[in-house]
């Protein structure tokens, strides 16, 4: 467990330490004098905009699908989760192509109106607001899922009570359901914002200079790990804030689902245009985050007859790295989940280190890995690079694997452990015979989530992969930044396709989570 704590926190801590220690060299002087305010400013604006959009997208959608009946509701309910499958950089590549001045949207607009490109204003996708919309479209499912779960489980009885007290539908949402769901929504929002802050691919592709892009550039353009670490300090502070936000009034969130009986939901039927408007809103959201970009990429791939064959090596690398990283992160996640049950100081630290790794961008962790390697006096070659890369994957994603297993353990009452103790079971026996099998009921979901997260990972892979280990994500990004969007489409689509598997599995599980509801 001590090993887990040290292993999981080393990259993060060394990046932080280096940031404090590095005396602020020439690069730092240059960055702080020129681009630092841009980096920090655009990160803050991006987070605020993304946060607002995520809430505006997710909460009405969750409210509509849980509390109302409208055409296509059951189908839309799970379509709305699909954007989780596509990484933000895939959306960025698709939308930059679609909405650019020469893209089909603006061309069509000009053809229809006869205007020239200079006669009208059109929002620029290569911009801070553009990036925020794309991130929100990719990340809103975090809040959607949290809000949907909160609306379905906690407040049915409360809502029924409120109805009998004469509350109007609007009051139900604003005065009853939203306050009750607030802890869950804030937790989901902070997860979405962590992902947004960690994004490198979409921001870099759209030319928005966020802090994460800055960290990457400090390394790649200036070769100054110290300056990168200094920028990373700001991101670390941000991560601490978001972590705190996620735990913010968890206490009241703990009151959920005290009753084991499922209330069957009575949905309000939306008739006529109300129903179609609700369906339209949900469908538009799904289209924004998944349908449109995927169709656009598919169309480009077919239109340009994009080559597929040369990708087999990258696909194999992706699968190997994801399998290796996911296996180790799975084991670490299992250790963290089991440790969390014991509540020793050390296991708490391990959990903290793991969630810290998730809150911090991959670029920062990779930087920390480079710093550790530097301190150890090793060269980043071959096996060392491969091991460091997998180590960074483990640091970043362990908590994503621990989460489903911890949830499985949390469903088992505390008394179970006490019962085992009263049956003279030693700590080891309780671990192996009781906690481990229970945690394993979350294993499939955990393993799949880990596999796909690593498959999608971009910045750390870009920075650390050894020669010959290009992944699909690296290839997709490389082609796209080399202005060869057509060739980027196939790896983008493959990544998205792989991402669909756990997302669909997850949505099946979620729909089974309410056996009382007529499915």
């Amino acid at each position: 467990m001590l090993l887990a704590v040290v292993g999981l926190s080393a990259p993060l801590l060394s990046a932080g330490l280096m940031g404090v220690l590095s005396g602020g060299g020439e690069t730092w002087a240059h960055i702080s004098g020129t681009t630092l305010s841009t980096y920090a400013g655009s990160t803050v604006v991006m987070l605020v905009l993304t946060g607002i959009l995520v809430l505006v997208f997710a909460i009405p959608a969750a409210w509509l699908v849980t509390m109302h009946e409208f055409p296509g509701r059951r189908f839309l309910e799970w379509l709305l989760i699909l954007p989780l499958a596509a990484p933000a950089y895939v959306l960025a590549i698709a939308y930059a192509n679609l909405l650019g001045v020469a893209g089909p949207v603006q061309s069509g607009l000009r053809d229809m109106t006869g205007l020239s490109a200079r006669d009208y204003w059109f929002p620029d996708i290569n911009s801070l607001p553009g990036l925020s919309v794309i991130l929100a479209a990719a990340l809103y499912p975090y809040v959607y899922l949290a809000a949907r779960a909160a609306f379905t489980t906690t407040s049915i009885c409360t809502l029924d009570a409120a109805r009998t007290l004469g509350a109007r539908p609007r009051d139900l949402l604003l005065r009853v359901a939203l306050p009750a769901a607030r802890p869950a929504i804030i937790a989901g929002l902070s997860l979405a914002l962590m992902e947004a802050a960690a994004d490198y691919g979409a921001a870099d592709y759209l030319g928005v200079q966020t802090l994460t892009v800055g960290v990457f550039r400090a390394w790649s353009s200036y070769g100054d790990v110290g300056a990168g670490a200094r920028l990373a300090l700001i991101l670390l502070a941000l991560a601490v804030f978001l972590q705190w936000l996620e735990r913010f009034d968890r206490g009241s969130a703990g009151s959920e689902a005290t009753s084991k009986r499922w209330q069957s939901l009575t949905r309000a039927r939306l008739n006529g245009w109300h129903g179609w408007a609700a369906a339209g809103f949900c469908f538009a959201l799904f289209s924004l985050g998944f349908g449109i970009p995927v169709l656009r990429l598919l169309w480009i791939a077919i239109d340009t007859n994009a080559p597929v064959a040369s990708l087999s090596g990258a696909a194999v690398n992706s699968i190997l790295l994801a399998a290796a990283g996911a296996s180790l992160a799975f084991i670490a996640g299992l250790a963290v989940a089991l440790g969390a049950r014991r509540k020793t100081g050390l296991s708490r630290l391990a959990r903290l280190a793991a969630s810290g790794g998730y809150a911090v961008p991959g670029a920062v962790l990779a930087l920390g890995g480079l710093i550790v390697i530097g301190w150890l006096g090793l060269g980043l070659t071959g096996h060392v690079a491969l091991l460091v890369l997998i180590w960074i994957y483990v640091c970043r994603f362990t908590v994503a694997g621990a989460e489903p297993m911890q949830a499985a353990l949390a469903r088992a009452p505390k008394s179970m452990d006490q019962a085992a103790r009263s049956l003279a079971a030693s700590p080891l026996r309780r671990l192996v015979r009781v906690d481990l099998p229970i945690a394993m009921s979350g294993a499939v979901v955990a393993a799949l989530i880990l596999f796909v997260e690593i498959l999608k990972e971009l910045p750390a892979t870009l920075m650390l992969r050894p020669t010959g280990w290009d992944t699909l994500a690296v290839r997709a990004y490389g082609y796209a930044s080399d202005e060869r969007v057509a060739e980027a489409t196939v790896p983008c689509l493959l990544i998205t396709l792989a991402g669909l598997v756990p997302v669909i599995l997850l949505s099946v599980r979620l729909s089974r989570a309410r056996p009382g509801e007529t499915a």
């Binding site: 179970m416 006490q418 099998p437």
Partner: protein
């Protein structure tokens, strides 16, 4: 099997400045089921956890057969003290069958012996046919019987049950309780049964202990505690009771509703305000000298009409 009493002596537990359990003395004898009654917050569950070794105590001692299990600074952990635990939520291992759950506490036996012993306990709990079922496939009553079989199979020195039947359907409850308590009594171990159902406790336990504000205020055979409560609070803990002031000086008499009988020559005059049918009895509510009274009459009698004047006398008991 050790046939020894599990004893608490001056057991005290504080959380911060609050004393949750306050100098409790309790002696659990083999072959005897002690029901621990009291309002919520009285410290019943904490006392059980102290006896089980799930928590350390601040003062006093828990001993079994004279050897110390808990005292300040020493807590023999649950896995070393051979006390069976049964919980309200059953706490069965969801990934193990009923048989495997029972066998969990028998790792020292060979597989065949363990199976045989576990099966025999399930059989005593009338569950032999369900031995291959997983907890999710069992009803609440079945799950609790498995949990009790699991607790008894390793031949514990004592068994501690925290509201074991309150999660069950009322219709099933009596049957499950009667069966399991009989098996436990049969097993010959001291047993503590935390419950908030006084009628069940009186019916099935050998000894009652009534707990209030962290202290055991009265303990003894059910009938004694029921008939001769030391104060109004204990009396109320076991069932409805009338406080009757007979004369200015004589103070207050505590009288159960069934101990008030209609008697035309009775000393207490009252006016019936309401007549309710409870099944086995008629419950009359009456007003006498500004006091509210409850009177239980056998259901076979014809009750007086609401509003009629009656005379009552207190049934004497030897």
């Amino acid at each position: 099997m050790i046939e020894a009493a599990l004893s608490a002596c001056g057991v005290t537990k504080k959380i911060g400045a609050t004393t949750i359990v306050d100098g409790v003395d309790l002696n659990l004898r083999p072959r005897e089921i002690t029901a621990l009654l009291g309002p919520s917050g009285a410290g019943k569950s904490t006392l059980l956890r102290l006896l089980a070794g799930l928590e350390g105590l601040d003062a006093g001692e828990v001993t079994i057969g004279g050897s110390a299990l808990s005292r300040p600074g020493l807590t023999v952990p649950p896995e070393k003290r051979q006390t069976g635990l049964v919980f309200q939520d059953f706490a069965l291992f969801p990934h193990l069958t009923a048989l495997e759950n029972v066998r969990f506490g028998l790792p020292h036996l060979t597989k065949a012996d363990g199976r045989a012993l576990a099966l025999s306990w399930l059989d005593r709990m009338q569950l032999a046919a369900r031995s291959g079922a997983y907890p999710a496939e069992l009803s609440g009553g079945e799950q609790q019987r498995v949990a009790i079989a699991r607790a008894l199979a390793p031949q514990p020195a004592a068994i501690l049950m925290d509201e074991p039947f309150s999660g069950l359907d009322p219709a099933l409850r009596g049957g499950v309780a009667a069966l399991t308590l009989a098996v436990i009594r049969d097993a010959g171990v001291p047993a503590l049964w935390v419950t908030h159902d006084p009628s069940e406790a009186m019916m099935l336990a050998d000894t009652l202990a009534v707990m209030q504000s962290g202290q055991i205020v009265q303990s003894g055979p059910p009938e004694t505690v029921y008939r001769s409560p030391i104060d109004l609070a204990v009396a109320q803990a076991l069932g409805p009771i009338n406080e009757i002031r007979l004369t200015e000086d004589a103070g207050v008499a505590l009288v159960r509703p069934e101990d008030l009988v209609l008697d035309p020559d009775g000393p207490i005059g009252a006016t019936v305000t309401s007549v309710q049918f409870t099944g086995p009895t008629w419950r009359l509510l009456a007003m006498a000298d500004g006091q509210n009274l409850m009177i239980d009459l056998p259901a076979s009698t014809l009750p007086p009409a609401s509003g009629s004047a009656v005379h009552l006398t207190i049934r004497s008991r030897s």
